[in-house]
Amino acid sequence: MNLDATMPDTGVIFGLAGILVFGIGLFGALSLRDSLRRVLALKLCGVGASFILIVAAWRGPGLAADPVPHALVITGIVVMVSATAVALALIRRIHSLENGRDD
């Protein structure tokens, strides 16, 4: 894959995008009141952080990407889906209790 010529620019563009997505998610997680939307805002934070790690994989001396950040992000994606599933189960439970239905 011929990426060495275009890589710095691509890296900077998506690095900046990742940081902005993280910032948007952080603001949402702190300011929003709706619980479902808050969970999504936290997911945005997670994806933004993943962007930064994947861009950082190209900051090494070699011409190939560093596989360790890639593996860390894959681990992070699985941890995120686990945390999201628990958060959503709690949201469903709270909704059931608030509406007097125990289903």
Binding site: L44, I74, A85
Partner: protein
């Protein structure tokens, strides 16, 4: 001349940022979730551009696919609930906004100021790839060099399903609508293909992008389709088998790690001659656990028989 791919990157990055903002701004909850799914797929596309196909596969399958299904299921459960009032720009919110802007600016400064060519681990990974038992560096990191992280990741999934089963109980009627004939036909067509894709992803992880997590997510999609079409209904009697499926990945992974730690080897130090077989066995069993756990996380509640009195209470 400007590289056409750079223009593509710029447009893609702007779209990702705009859609991320849309997730927080859109009033309609269904549109918000669709927006989030599009955001995840575009992020996966961006990671392909950054030559991280493993991560892109995992994000598309788990971070977007399974998560999107979880979100839509939750939305169906919250039927009739209106979203809270739109964001008011009062004092605390403005303070939050300015602090988040500061943090973002600091991040941008850090990104632009980071020197390129600092020390990386790709050299070490490449040097030891022959001894790892697999040819694909990301799989070597996940299943060999940093296998302990991966074991803990499987444990996190296990903890998640324990937590979800503790929070929600009962086998009352699921609120999901019954799917039509077309959908059942689609399920019949897609299920065999999904099995092949999932197993292929697992197998190919040793030499190319793919692996246990991506394959597990595709197999979990089969479970999701079976649950949605009601071709399979979890019953209280199935709990034992489900528990074994949840725990077998963690158990076998830990057992192999401890079993190889003899004759002067450390934990997780696979003997070179058996490294590939051991990694493939671990991956295959972990894939089963991941698929079962993700499908169970989608279903949500533990299938226990609820007595009439309990259901009324």
């Amino acid at each position: 001349m400007i590289d056409v791919l750079i223009i593509f990157d710029l447009v893609l990055a702007l779209a990702i940022i705009a859609i991320a903002a849309g997730v927080l701004v859109l009033r309609d909850a269904f549109a918000m979730i669709v927006c989030f799914v599009v955001f995840g797929l575009l992020s996966a596309l961006a990671w392909v551009r950054l030559a991280a196909p493993d991560v892109a596969l995992a994000e598309a399958a788990i971070g977007t696919g399974v998560t999107g299904a979880l979100l839509l299921k939750t939305l169906a459960h919250l039927r009739g609930r209106t979203l809270s009032a739109p964001l008011r720009m009062d004092g605390p919110v403005l303070a939050n906004a300015s602090l988040c802007a500061l943090a973002t600016l600091a991040g941008i400064g850090a990104l632009l100021a980071t020197p390129i060519g600092g020390p990386g681990l790709e050299g070490l990974v490449a040097q030891n790839l022959l001894a790892s038992g697999v040819e694909h560096p990301v799989t070597a990191v996940l299943l060999n060099y940093r296998a302990f992280d991966t074991l803990m990741e499987v444990v996190v999934l296990l903890v998640a399903i324990i937590a979800v089963w503790s929070v929600e109980r009962g086998v009352t009627r699921a609120p999901a609508p019954v799917m039509g004939e077309v959908y059942a036909g689609f399920a019949r067509l897609i299920l065999p293909a999904a099995v092949i894709v999932g197993v292929y992803l697992l197998w190919v992880g040793a030499i190319a992008p793919g692996g246990a997590f991506q394959g597990g997510a595709v197999l979990a999609a089969i479970g999701l389709i079976l649950l949605i079409t009601r071709a399979y209904t979890p019953l209280p009697a199935h709990r034992g088998a489900a528990r074994i499926a949840f725990v077998i990945g963690t158990a076998l992974f830990a057992a192999v790690a401890l079993f190889v730690a003899q004759g002067g080897r450390a934990t997780f130090e696979y003997p070179a001659a058996y490294a590939k077989s051991l990694i493939l066995i671990i991956e295959a069993v972990v894939t089963i656990s991941i698929a079962a756990t993700l499908a169970a996380l989608f279903h949500g509640r533990e299938p226990v028989a609820v007595t009439v009195r309990e259901a009324r209470a």
